[in-house]
Symmetry: C2
DNA sequence: CCTCGCGCAAGAGCAGTGCTCTCGTCGTGG
DNA sequence: CCACGACGAGAGCACTGCTCTTGCGCGAGG
């Protein structure tokens, strides 16, 4: 009578195929260990998908391993065969989400040959559109860090995809590789050194001044979207579309594009 | 034998005064209802203080009513006599924190009569300094919203204190009340209308173009601090002080100050 | 062809959470 | 002086992440 809540969901319910129709014969006794490995990969993916859906609904803090297990009609303990802890699952989710956003940004970028300002506007819009379409995912990426969780190195590469897009655009601005003509615009050595590693994200030559402009643009975009999505402009700004378009125009001007 | 974890902390432990020495005679039978009300106010404050400390240590998501109760040597259920919900406690914390930050910003602002650029730099530095000194509180204010929690109207006024400081500074820029001389810099009607309510935060006259500049500056500051504090520039930027100073310079330029 | 072993899922259980309800106490106002 | 109301404590519910043990089923080795 104890622990009834555990199997309540498996009571009179038929197997309920997760997405594909084959599930009761999932271990498919066809090619031995290969099939097992396949099944494992599939279930891993199914868990990730379910977690993704749950994340989109209740946010990172409400992500529950047990709910994922219920969703997939398995015991909560079985999930741990695939993800050692909640953090591991979170990392996989993080990588997937960064990649998702990075892909959206890359797709929105028209690429070299197009006016940098136009490119930046397109990517900025795509960034905001993605964030608005996936607010909880955005919060996962750019909101408060999960307490006690430190993102492993695996997440760095996907996380920098969108930054790289911005840097590429900045690099396509004429003269981005050279120091600005105006000596007053020169960066001091300390600041230049501080942001130097950022330039390695792109292959194209980029003067520190341009790197700084990119970071400035990036910070503004993140700030604007965060303020909007996290409700800080909720009562103050009426038309967020119009406001963001204006921010974009300013960002383009700042980038010198 | 069940529920032992509840009273474990009150076992052989002496009353342990919270901070002041008087505690066992807290109800102080002196002036009737006044004393009771006083004691109640004191305990409410003590709970808030404890929650504040816990917040600073484990972050908003890890804030636990039971831990607060343990800290104050009372039963967890007793806390509910003072705060109906975790959300109620969160709201009180939010108001207190917004006020804390707002006060820091106001204190950093040299006020009218000083060059707007200098004021903006000072407030920007104060904002970042406060955020770095209270990272979890910053996350509470400007990080992911707590799922299921919607900030009540009480939090709006404290939340806008720092915005008001920025608007005041923008209003002190010469010509901030007038439309810019350059017609190309004129805001279109839609954008102007979108941000119009923001201008009501300050008493000083402010052209929509200046309001937009303020919002732009605010977004950049929040973005820069969020990126730094939430670890997104962790591996990319070496000297965050230098980088932020550069951002500040750009923000000042953008404000036209 | 049978049996062993390994991978896996399931269940129970632990410690913790927010929150509710009940009960005993204690001080105060009628 | 007594009843009422505020209050603290404790038990309990439903939930969480995570661990440990048990048992099942499949493929491979003898």
């Amino acid at each position: 009578m104890v622990g009834r809540s555990e199997d309540r969901y498996a009571a009179g319910v038929p197997p309920l195929p997760t997405d594909q129709s084959e599930q009761s014969d999932r271990p498919a006794p066809s090619a031995g260990r290969t099939a097992r490995a396949l099944a494992r990969a599939e279930l891993t993916r199914a868990i990730l998908d379910s977690a993704r859906h749950q994340l989109a609904e209740v946010g990172p803090a409400g992500l529950s391993l047990r709910a994922v297990a219920r969703d997939l009609d398995m015991a909560s303990s079985a999930v741990y065969r695939y993800f050692a802890n909640r953090d591991t699952l979170l990392t996989a989710l993080l990588v997937r989400t960064y990649d998702d956003l990075g892909a959206a940004a890359e797709e929105a970028d028209a690429g070299p040959g197009v006016d940098p300002g136009t490119r930046l506007v397109a990517v900025g819009r795509a960034f905001r559109a993605w964030a608005r379409a996936h607010p909880h995912e955005y919060a996962l990426l750019y909101g408060s860090p999960v307490p006690g969780y430190v993102a492993p190195a695996d997440t760095v590469a996907p996380a920098t995809r969108i930054t790289r897009v911005l840097l590429d655009i900045a690099a396509s601005v004429p003269g981005a590789a050279d120091r600005p003509a105006d000596p007053a615009a020169h960066l001091d050595a300390v600041t230049a050194a501080a942001i130097a590693p950022v330039a390695t994200l792109t292959d194209r030559p980029l003067a520190p001044e341009s790197v700084a402009r990119s970071l400035h643009a990036w910070a503004t975009l993140v700030g604007a979207v965060s303020l909007e999505l996290f409700g800080h402009l909720h009562r103050a700004v009426l038309d967020h579309d119009a406001h963001f378009e204006h921010v974009l125009r300013q960002v383009v001007t700042d980038l010198g594009a």
